[in-house]
């Protein structure tokens, strides 16, 4: 078979194509409005509007809003930590157990001191934070150093921390926590806003800034994006990963303290589903389980969507069996809306 060499016109100049034509710098506003997170935010707003219209007397009230804030607070604290972990392409199933453990040891210490002075409350806080952080370091060490898959590590420490809590309490919740803690933190308000919610929001904003603005945050993205690339630039990725898990542990410790304050007791049996709830919130918020992507503002919205749904459905008095179905459907819808724009890029 012969080959052909078709004719060719030699070039002649017609128009200079300017380089900058190829890229239209978006305005700040369009880039916000077109962002993934904004669509998710709209989904949340839509939910709130629908519930408010359907039950104007019960849903959009101040007290119900405060309920929702309180319900979300502890989950949000956990989810802030999980955001970091998930961006590193990790996973932390241990938060519920670490929460309980921290809650138990700090409650025991406070009960041991026996009074309800601010100093006691602060000691209790420190104990909770330290306890949480230690579990987090253990997680980080096993994941980063021993290179055991995070799922296994944190499932094991979930069991271990819960088991340890049961052991030291003999399976009975610590109940004699200072009531001042409950009053000040658990059900206290500042300017009408629950202290729990305030603390959670401060934590979220603070670590949102850390994630977006600091080197710590950047390494977190880099590890999840390509850990080997980060390692080759000479960064001690092991140490950074340990820090990330330690942070998740610290926040689980804080959550444990807040939980003690909220429920006026430790809640040994109440946190087996915290891990999935947390991870779900982060993933709804747009982070990828494959790492490298995620925003704190997404996580915040991702925490509120299920909480608002749950509250709204109960307020509407939808049959509980239907609720499970409806929650699933609405969740899918909200995430689908958000996801449509993300297609082009990889998984």
């Amino acid at each position: 078979m012969a080959t052909t060499t078709p004719p060719t016109t030699e070039t002649s100049s017609t128009a200079i194509v300017g380089h900058d034509d190829l890229y239209r710098q978006p305005t700040f506003l369009t880039s916000v409005v077109k962002s993934d997170t904004f669509r998710l935010f709209l989904a949340l707003v839509a939910l709130i509007v629908v519930f408010s219209v359907l039950k104007p007397t019960a849903f959009p009230t101040l007290s119900n809003t405060l309920n929702i804030l309180s319900d979300a607070a502890i989950l949000l604290v956990l989810a802030v930590g999980a955001t970091f972990v998930i961006i590193t392409a990790g996973i932390d199933l241990s938060v519920g157990g670490v929460l309980v453990f921290s809650s138990v040891v700090s409650a025991m210490v406070m009960a041991g001191i026996g009074d309800g002075t601010p100093l006691t409350l602060i000691i209790g806080l420190i104990v909770a934070l330290v306890a949480g952080t230690l579990w987090g370091i253990l997680n980080g060490f096993l994941v980063a150093k021993a290179r055991i898959p995070a799922l296994i590590v944190t499932l094991a420490t979930m069991g271990a921390s819960l088991g340890a809590s049961l052991l030291i309490t003999n399976g009975v919740d610590v109940r004699n926590v200072p009531f001042s803690l409950v009053e000040a933190v658990g059900s206290g308000t500042v300017a009408g806003i629950p202290v729990l919610a305030l603390i959670a929001l401060v934590v979220a904003v603070m670590f949102g800034i850390v994630l977006a603005q600091t080197r710590f945050g950047r390494y977190t993205y880099a590890i999840g994006s390509n850990a080997e690339a980060l390692r080759r630039t000479g960064v001690n990725t092991t140490r950074h990963l340990i820090k990330v898990y330690a942070l998740a542990g610290l926040l689980a410790g804080l959550a444990g303290y807040l939980s003690t304050a909220r429920f006026a007791t430790t809640t040994l049996g109440g946190h087996s589903t915290d891990n999935l709830a947390t991870i779900t919130a982060v993933v709804i918020g747009g982070a990828s389980l494959f790492g490298g992507r995620g925003l704190m503002i997404g996580t915040i919205i991702g925490v509120f969507i299920p909480v608002v749904l749950q509250n709204g459905f109960v307020v509407l008095n939808i049959s509980p069996y239907w609720q499970q179905i409806a929650v699933g459907a609405v969740l899918l819808g909200a995430v689908y809306l958000d996801q449509m724009r993300r297609r082009s890029r990889d998984r």
Binding site: R175, F263, G269, G270, N311
Partner: protein
């Protein structure tokens, strides 16, 4: 039924029973199971007599963290009264305190709080006594000697703890019975099944099992059947759902400690009505248990004790 008169009888504003029509009672059980369904039936039937509505919301797990947001949302709907089976004796205190201060009277059913004073009434089975009855029944079934095991459905749930404690205190009085301790199945039947088969492997001479609720009983019976030990190893279970009755008929289980969930529900509504209309309220009511065996199963009153599946 026993009970002491309430210290502070009646709410501030008293209604007549006619005013109750159309008002809503909120009901939050501990989890979804036939026990609570029967209770819901009792509540609905009794409420219906006063033309009241019942709105029921069920936690997916028997856990305080799952139950609390449901409670909070329920409070936002401002029901005339709230009946709840708190999944933790302490953890539900703060949110329930908020409910009460929002003007919603709270009654406790089945489970209770460490300090139930915030509730205008608490109605429950005497679980410690029930546990003791289970111990006696099991001891009789095994000829007062041999090894026994407890499957506790949840560490920290007041009913589970009380049944275990009642059983332990009573079983100690039989000197030839060796108590192997309690294993926890976390309301998971499969876990109960594997606990039973493993215990049987370690103690082929296991004589008896006490399962503290229907999830525990369901799994334990399966474990026995899989090991071919059904009937040989005697079993006493708490609760009497139709599934448990079937196990009893088949001989997988020898005795059931049945609660009276329907009655708890009915009494609870009566207390709600009394509370709202300024009648006499009983601060605490204990309901009885009934022991069901193959022998008495056909009795009419025993047939009544079987939990309902629908109202």
């Amino acid at each position: 039924t026993t009970g002491e008169p309430a210290a502070d009888a009646g709410p501030a504003k008293s209604l007549t029973t006619a005013d109750l029509a159309g008002k809503t009672i909120g009901f939050i059980p501990g989890v979804n199971d036939p026990f609570y369904i029967s209770m819901q039936c009792g509540i609905e039937a009794a409420a219906d007599e006063y033309g009241m509505k019942v709105s029921t919301q069920i936690p997916q797990q028997f856990e305080a963290a799952v139950q609390t947001p449901i409670l909070n949302a329920m409070v936002a709907t401002a029901p005339a009264a709230l009946l709840i089976a708190p999944t933790d004796a302490q953890a539900l205190v703060p949110p329930l305190t908020k409910a009460v201060s929002a003007g919603i009277p709270v009654g406790l059913v089945d489970t209770t709080l460490a300090d139930p004073s915030l509730a205008f009434t608490s109605i429950s089975t005497d679980n410690a006594i029930g546990g003791g009855q289970a111990a006696d029944a099991l001891a009789d079934l095994i000829g007062k000697k041999g090894k026994v095991l407890v499957i506790a459905f949840k560490a920290g749930a007041s009913t589970s703890d009380a049944r275990q404690k009642g059983f332990e205190d009573q079983i100690k009085t039989y000197k030839d019975i060796t108590y192997l301790g309690a294993q926890i199945n976390d309301n998971d039947p499969a876990k109960a099944a594997s606990i039973v088969s493993a215990t049987l492997a370690a103690n082929p001479d296991l004589a008896g099992i006490f399962a503290t609720n229907l999830f525990a009983a369901q799994g334990a019976a399966t474990g026995l059947r899989n090991s071919g030990a059904e009937g040989t190893v005697k079993m006493v279970g708490f609760d009497a759902g139709s599934g448990q009755i079937e196990q009893l008929e088949r001989g997988d289980v020898q005795a059931l400690i049945a609660q009276k969930p329907g009655e708890i529900g009915k009494l609870a509504v009566e207390q709600v009505v009394a509370h709202l209309t300024g009648g006499e309220v009983k601060k605490s009511i204990g309901t009885e248990t009934v022991i069901i065996t193959q022998e008495n199963l056909k009795d009419a009153d025993i047939q009544d004790a079987i939990y309902k599946e629908s109202c």
